[in-house]
């Protein structure tokens, strides 16, 4: 039984890579979500068109294809990425496109009267967005962002196919070395599930924190 502890260490290393990927991917996704989501609401046609093209392209093609494209095709046009960079790029851009629609929807869900109040208080477009609209919209976005983060976590399994040593990859290694299939795969399924639970728990407590003091303002 001692050997299992060594293999478990391998799987834990994989878990660290998965967590790292999820965090870095989420940061990029969050950034892209706000850029593209606000871009879609821009006054300028060019920005709107760019944001729409980005969102439709990344939502329309599969994450798997995007990852392979980033890893295998980009080197031919002179951009070489490490597996980790390709993974973060593909995951972040893909999930960012989904989250951009969440940002757009949340900003649009804020009532007209809030915008009118901004005008009445003589706030600029940016000031109104920063101090009035976004703080309210963020609360609407949060639960869906949580779901997006879980989607991202699940999508990280795909990077094992471009030889990045994440959970799924390490499970394959353990499987190849021990010949046992059941144990490694069952273990990583449980680990993924725990990570997903952690994300949804974290988002829920963040939501509670941010909703503090807003009772009665919105449902």
């Amino acid at each position: 039984m001692t050997q299992w502890s060594g293999y478990f260490g391998l799987i834990l290393q994989g878990a660290l890579v998965t967590i790292e990927l999820t965090l870095m991917g989420s940061v990029l996704a969050l950034f892209m979500a706000f850029v593209a989501g606000m871009g879609r609401l821009s006054r300028f046609f060019v920005l709107r068109a760019l944001a729409t093209a980005y969102i439709e392209f990344f939502r329309g093609t599969s994450i798997f294809v995007q990852l392979f494209w980033a890893y295998f095709v980009l080197p031919f046009i002179g951009i070489s990425l490490t597996p980790l960079q390709a993974g973060v790029l593909a995951l972040g851009l893909n999930v960012g496109a989904y989250a951009a629609e969440v940002v757009r929807g949340a900003i649009q869900s804020i009532g007209r009267e809030q915008y009118e109040a901004c005008t009445a208080l003589n706030l600029g477009r940016w000031q109104g967005m920063r101090h009035i609209i976004l703080p309210q919209a963020l609360l609407v976005m949060l639960p869906t962002f949580g779901n997006n983060a879980i989607e991202l976590l699940k999508a990280t399994a795909v990077v094992s196919l471009i030889s990045l040593a994440d959970l799924t990859f390490q499970a394959q290694v353990v499987r190849a070395q021990t010949g046992n299939t059941m144990v490694p795969f069952a273990t990583i399924l449980v680990i993924y599930f725990i990570l997903a639970l952690l994300i949804s728990w974290g988002v829920r407590s963040l939501e509670r924190r941010m909703a503090r003091g807003l009772d009665g303002v919105r449902v």
Binding site: E56, F57, R59, G60, T61, S62, I63, F64, V65, Q66, F68, W69, F72, V73, F76, I77, G105, I150, L153, K154, A155, T156, A157, V158, S160, L161, T168, A171, Q172, R175, T181, M182, F185, A186, I188, L189, Y192, F193, A196, L197
Partner: protein
Amino acid sequence: MEWDWNFVREIMPTLIQGVKITILATLLGSVLAAIVGLGIALARRSPNKALSRTVGFLAEFIRGTPLLVQLYFIFYVLPDIGILLPPLVAGVIGLGLHYGTYTAEVYRAGIDNVPRGQWEAAKACNLSARQTWTHIIIPQAIPPMIPALANYFIAMFKETPLLSAITVLELMNQAKSVANTYYRYIEPITLVGAFFLVISLFSVVLLRWLERRYGKIER
């Protein structure tokens, strides 16, 4: 490296082969997901607490873990206990189970959205439970679900490249084998992306039509 149209013409027939398998897997997976989802939704409504809790937890678990790992599990672990599945069958089961947990939520929302009054009216008209379901609830619950279900089937379509990891010869796998034979990645992988984008854009048009035809489901 340059884009080579002759090479594109040469590999097209192989890729078309793959597209067929991709579409076949999506269709079969959708049918299975529709059935599994209905089963989960009904089991979760069951008055038997043990049944509804167990099914609820299992669905939550499947939704929180990556499809890729589930596919590995079905394809590599089940043979250990004597169930040997051909790759395509394993893939369709994986897709169907995974997306079944999502469609279950659509069914749940659809059924919950039928107003209470309809249940009470059915009772007042002395309809049996079976008659209530077949004549009153289901005919009203299904149409608003259709766009949401279609949405998940499109999402499933974009996940089919994962089946290449369990050796199903679908579009992505054909592209990879072509790429590995000629060591040219630009054309095959880009074409896969283009195929997905074109089919996704068409399905978005179809989805818009479904939404107009059957009414929007509230998000």
